[in-house]
Amino acid sequence: MAVLSDSRLSASQKWTAIMRRFLRWLTTPHVILSIIMLAVMVYLVIIPLYRMITTTITVQDIDLRVIKDAEVGDFTWYHWVRMLTSKIAKIMTYEPLLHSIVVSLGATAFALVIGGLMAWMVVRTDMPGRNTIHMLATIPYIMPSWTIAMAWTVIFKNRTTGGTPGLLEYILGTPPPDWLAYGPIPIIVSSGLHYYTFFFLFVSAALLSIDSSLEEAGELAGAGRWRIMRKITFPLVVPAIASGFIMTFSKTMGTFGGPNVLGVPVKYYTLSTMLRSNTGIGNYGDGFVLAIVLILFAMTTIMLNQKLVGTRKSYETIGGRGFMSQKVKLRNFKGLLTGLVVVFQFLIAVLPLVVLLYSTFMLRTGDYSLSNFTLAHWIGKGDISINNGEPGVLRNPKIYLGAWNSIRLSLLTALFTSIFGVILGYAIVKGRGTRLSKWVEQMAFIPYVIPGIAFGAVYISMFTKSVGPIPPLYGTFALLVVVSVAKHLPFSARTGVSAMLQVSKELEEAAAIAGASPWRRFIRIIFPLTSTGFVSGFLLNFISTMRELSLIILLVTPTTAVLASMTMRYIENGNEQQADAVILILIFLVLIGNFIISRFRGGSLKKGLGM
């Protein structure tokens, strides 16, 4: 024992030992990777958030004309006071907040009802054609979220906003009422139809995995079918519904496309569109107050939801596999209901595309007759009488630039997201149980609770000036990549962790014993065994970035515009046909990406959505 006691060692020997131990800890691969990732995430998430908050409490250039005797950079409560308590607070903050809540709740509830009902019918009744229904259900979600909104305007718009009549008015002769043309109802319906896929997939997975003996036990206890539904089945799928609810609600809170297409023309602002109109005129102080309100609201919702569906009531819904509970017989209604479901799905999956395509062939908007048919918006050479002389989209270099930007943004985002996924997965899984690993995991989750448009707003303030060695990125293409990669961090971490968990730790340890360096272990053992997970993660990121709008809308410039943002610009400029053509090109690209995924994953579109 005497040999081992510290007392015999000199102070310098002790110091050497401590340094050696520290260095050994530090050079453990997962430790060093965790530290690097923490630094990256502090830079990508924490600092921008901090900057955003400080911007709201300092005097900006634009404020000098209203705040007397102040200099840029001084501390001020001006923005908060103005946005929360002044006379314009109602218009600037509270109404948009209310609208956001109404629209998000409405869309989520609508999606829940449709998705849940359809899931129940597919899983628990003897409805035929379940595979077809399943496939059709995923299509609206694959398309950009504002696709249906754009098709909606083509059909239902009226001349309230001074434009041309919609298809419905053209056919019926009378304009649709305002509530059907613009505002909350159209936004709710169009977003709900986009997001119902979430609930459909979540609820049908949960229903499928319920151990039917739980229901049979209820039946033996003498409960009727309805009672079993209410008291047993429904509570068991509540966790699935809740997670679908959180996802949908937080996504719709930060959605920009739908509210911009259907709300802004009639001054029905949500937080996201109000945020855009503030930052659009350089009023960052006010805009960021809105962004913070939005973030706080989304965070509260998520926390509230986690509390409601707390751990006490959470249970593994995965029970006996292969069980098939008794199916409800639809009897005479079988044909009718199946028909209804398929027609409904077909309508929301295909009709919008048809309508959008049709509108691109109209020489002048509002005239839907065949005599107005033209290919000018696709292949026209640029007639000064059409669209201010812009050539058809297929001949327009701007469109090609946008498409190229979309593709390279998606490729780069997917690439970096995959790389971060590998690193995060390794750092979190290998460090399981350590504090460092927990920090990395939690920090990677933060972007999840920040709505897309607010996350984009965070980056405006971050990169207007140079930070450390990084040059100012505002207005550059690189900024779009940075923000997309940062927003995908939670996804990276999740894919990475689940891929890493596939590899038992002994496989790496066996290689360590054999004398392989960490790098060699990674290249020869870990990477080959996890690569399929990362390849499919790569493809998923590719298509999800492609149709991303809310996140980047505040950050694009004419040279960095992507297809998604171009659809908005064309709509705002009143070039409806171009907008519709561009979104069709975008959908085309997304469908190609999705086709590759489904081939890669053995034909399952459902898996293709990463659910």
Partner: protein, 360 residues
């Protein structure tokens, strides 16, 4: 390959749990040492500390004359440089590599020539009787075959020390028997120092040259299998080793070489001790007579359980219950009167308070 492993005052904690508690241990060259104990006793952790996959919190480890770990000196040599091989419970064969690639992975790192690698692989596969499996992938083989390949993979790079972490526990009973035979042969041929972890006492008894019985991070007894079985150092070891279990009867020393067990007395060497004791009698050290004999204690059979090779008899006297093992098929009936005698010299006596074996 004369490799001694010396462990000094090794401690490893996981949070507040002390997995290995101040363990000191010398493993002589060519020993087949088994770390035996119930799950959670720290045996696997100790093995992983030796391998370098786990960094201890205190102590020192020498492999041969190389100091591979020292807390106070801040030294910890990576696993790969400790010249040892480890066979895992789940084999840990790399699923994306053929048997050949699995086996040459370490050899490539050692920069052996192609011919040498091929020769090593052929030799090692022959040693585990798996010649001709070079091109198979792990999932194309049965569990037993995978286990042999895992062994061959270790043999191929000629480590100085073999470490094995419950390598047989995923195999069925028959294969386990075969593998025990092979492992003992392999150790015999190679003479590498082997540290083997198991919770299966039969594995420990059959293969080891030494057994270290562990409980709560502490080595309770380190001895030859014979000593561990016949002279368990304390009640825990006595109770853990042996199947059926040892009979432990509480009593007190009533006089020189006599222990009073309440309902009857039993003659045992007491080495001048006094006070409360526990008597440990192995089931096979009790003989049964169907008629009253001199010195025999009357019991009644409670249950008779023949296995074919032997018979386990549960006998009762009031609330005292004894397990007895007889060779062959017993003719005893249930609820039959029997008279038991105890082999005086094979009985162990434990101090009740400390639980330690009383000797001399």
């Amino acid at each position: 390959m004369e490799t001694t492993i010396v462990i000094k005052n090794l401690t490893k904690k996981f949070g507040d749990v002390i997995a290995v508690n101040d363990v000191s241990l010398t493993i002589e060259p060519r020993t087949f040492l088994t770390l035996l104990g119930p799950s959670g006793c720290g045996k696997t952790t100790l093995l992983r500390c030796i391998s370098g996959l786990e960094d201890p919190d205190e102590g020192e480890i020498y492999i041969g004359d190389k100091l591979v770990y020292s807390h106070v000196k801040g030294i910890s040599i990576p696993s790969g440089q400790r010249e040892l091989g480890l066979v895992f419970q789940n084999y840990a064969l790399w699923p994306h590599m053929t048997v050949y690639k699995n086996m040459t992975f370490a050899l490539e790192i050692q920069k052996l020539s192609k011919e040498e690698m091929k020769q090593r692989v052929t030799e090692s596969l022959a040693e585990v009787k798996m010649s001709g499996y070079e091109d198979r992938y792990p999932r194309e083989m049965s569990g037993g075959q995978q286990q042999r390949i895992a062994l061959a993979r270790m043999l191929a790079y000629r480590p100085r020390v073999f470490l094995m972490d419950e390598p047989l526990s995923n195999l069925d009973a028959r294969l386990r028997m075969d593998m025990r035979t092979e492992l003992k042969r392999l150790h015999h041929i190679s003479d590498a120092t082997t540290v083997y972890v198991t919770h299966d006492q039969l594995e420990a008894m059959t293969m080891s040259s030494n057994i270290a019985v562990m409980k709560e991070g502490v080595i309770q007894q380190m001895d030859t299998p014979d000593k561990v079985y016949h002279y368990p150092a304390n009640l825990f070891v006595a109770d853990f080793i042996g199947n059926p279990k040892v009979n432990l009867l509480e009593g007190w020393i009533a006089g020189p070489d006599l222990v009073d067990l309440g309902k009857f007395n039993i003659p045992v060497p007491t080495f001048n001790h006094t006070g409360d004791v526990v008597v440990g009698v192995r089931p096979e050290d009790i003989s049964v007579s169907t008629h009253a004999i001199d010195g025999g204690v009357e019991f009644i059979t409670y249950s008779v359980l023949p296995t074919g090779a032997d018979t386990t008899i549960i006998a009762r006297k009031g609330d005292t219950e004894l397990t007895i093992k007889e060779i062959g098929v017993s003719k005893l009936q249930m609820d039959q009167k029997i008279w038991l005698t105890f082999k005086k010299d094979d009985i162990n006596l434990y101090d009740k308070a400390s639980g330690n074996l009383i000797t001399h």
